[in-house]
Symmetry: C2
């Protein structure tokens, strides 16, 4: 009994994941022309270049067809389209079908994470995330990587692990959905900060300091939202943060680089040609953190920069003007967080 | 009352730190020719290029002169020479003078950390470390960075913080000497692994996975040696690890890059012209971990590679052949480490 996996979204990551899966896969593309191209050419030229889709991948522009009899649904559409797509899919799914988010971001307006959106669209469904240092363009080229599949339902996590795990893609399981998801959302914002630091020419020490203080922001917000501190030291946390902050393949980092070199926000975003989730998520994440009483100095500066309310030079001057003290807040040093 | 700081060792890091300090500094160079050159030209051409030493820095080849009346001693010589230099200095110091290690490594043979060496040479002395993402060549160029000064004696830590802190060098304090020190030693070994990954062309996802699984090794060993888990998420841990693993200015990373591209160990080390502590520390660290019942798979492969007992391809094949499972050992998930 090898029911098909359903992948919603045929961008670079959705296509790459569909190609990694063992067994039958239905890959949903919104545009029927793209679905036809995928089925005919076995390639997604715009997003994944020469990556070949095996014969067990069937592309379709029908969500009903994609969802029919699926063992699990993996949703890989940008956060701005996420709710609409999940609502459409929910009509086609039994309530026992696990749904995993492959999207790292926060919904504008609601401030909801992607699994919260899934939960609102399909009450009672088993919900999880797939995350980690997974730059899609590298995976599309067959380079090795590792990821985390997080779900409160260990059986659902193992199902996805078994279908995705292979010699070039190591899949670890976790039960910490909240921690994995907030890590994936905030790292996109922090990658913009790291890119700005490099765009300003501040060097590798400064970038490492941005990553480290960014990790502290991730831990503070993640713990406030119920995440396990260990998650942030793992692939979903440090791993993804480091990859996104240091790889020139990262869209969010590239936006920051352009800003640091003096480009306008509009020019920096336009030159990408793809969505940089960190640009969209910065403001909602800062709001979400404030509502929990958590301070995110780096994210606040990114939110100001992408709104045009601050410049890279002014933002970094503000950050370094903060007083230096003990590295960790004494509250974090309490026995609760070891 | 602004007693001089004493910096032992006029390599790239010792010279850079001497230049950063406020107030009077005595900078000890083993070779009297170098001390004379530093005093005359105000530069250390070989190690720090155009970095200018201010008028408050006095270079000397006399350890007695360097130590005389020092408020604190900062030791920045390679691990292989560390014990001899500290023994010489100890004869000149009162037992109340705090001694800080600026060297990241483990002594060959004894497996002692640098602060343990200091403790053996000067029983009863106040001992600390200065560590963090501090690539000397960048600091010598005036680029910004942050560090951690760790000492059980908070007053001694603050003394060094006050003398080193400035707009371009942010100094945080910590009381976790053991954690800071083991982080600094193991990151050099892990940087060789990251360099090998890049030398093999495995990509940014793979490098991020090496850094993340390397951090897990750092946490396991550091906690076993009495370190605070939070230290490894901070500048001394993640921060220094990321800088050393991703910067082409890192000597240890460069050794790994050369190995990954197929050079011999001898050629990789020779082409550096400076000591790469990770080459020396790999074996002692693996031994130290074994004596504590801690497994360090990445460090073990590095130790094998630098001994010529394994090749980059064989080592990475061995690492990826390990079974994938839960990301963290269940023992680490116990309430003790939250």
């Amino acid at each position: 009994v090898n029911a098909p996996l359903c992948v919603l979204g045929a961008g670079s990551w959705g296509t790459s994941v569909a190609a990694l899966c063992t067994g039958e896969v239905r890959l949903w593309a919104r545009r029927s022309e793209l679905a036809a191209e995928l089925n005919e050419t076995r390639r997604n030229g715009r997003y994944t270049g020469d990556l070949e889709l095996g014969p067990s991948v069937l592309a379709t522009s029908s969500i009903a067809h994609a969802c029919d009899g699926a063992a699990a649904v993996l949703v890989a559409v940008p956060s701005a389209a996420f709710r609409d797509v999940v609502l459409e899919a929910a009509k086609e799914l039994s309530t026992t079908t696990p749904i995993f988010s492959l999207t790292k971001g926060v919904e504008r307006g609601s401030h909801a994470t992607m699994t919260q959106v899934i939960g609102e669209c399909t009450p009672g469904a088993v919900v999880g995330v797939v995350t980690g240092p997974n730059l899609a363009k590298e995976i599309a080229r067959g380079l090795p990587a590792a990821c985390v599949v997080a779900c409160a339902d260990a059986e659902a996590a193992r199902l996805v692990q078994e279908r995705l795990h292979g010699p070039r893609f190591r899949v670890y399981t976790s039960s910490d959905v909240a921690g994995c998801e907030i890590a994936g959302a905030i790292k996109n914002v922090l990658a913009i900060a790291a890119g700005v630091s490099d765009g300003l020419g501040l060097g590798d020490n400064a970038r490492a300091a941005v990553i480290t203080r960014g990790l502290a922001e991730m831990v503070r917000l993640g713990v406030a939202l119920g995440g396990n501190p260990l998650t942030f030291g793992g692939l979903a946390g440090v791993g993804d943060l480091v990859a996104t902050c240091t790889s020139d393949r990262s869209r969010n980092r590239r936006v920051g680089l352009a800003l640091g070199r003096g480009e306008s926000v509009g020019a920096a975003v336009d030159s990408l040609g793809e969505v940089a989730e960190g640009v969209v998520s910065a403001d909602p994440l800062v709001d979400l953190a404030r509502s929990k009483g958590v301070e995110l100095p780096l994210c606040e500066q990114v939110a100001a920069m992408v709104k045009g309310a601050s410049t890279p030079a002014a933002s970094f001057a503000a950050l370094t003007a903060r007083p230096a003290r003990d590295e960790w807040d004494p509250a974090l040093l309490s026995e609760e967080h070891g």
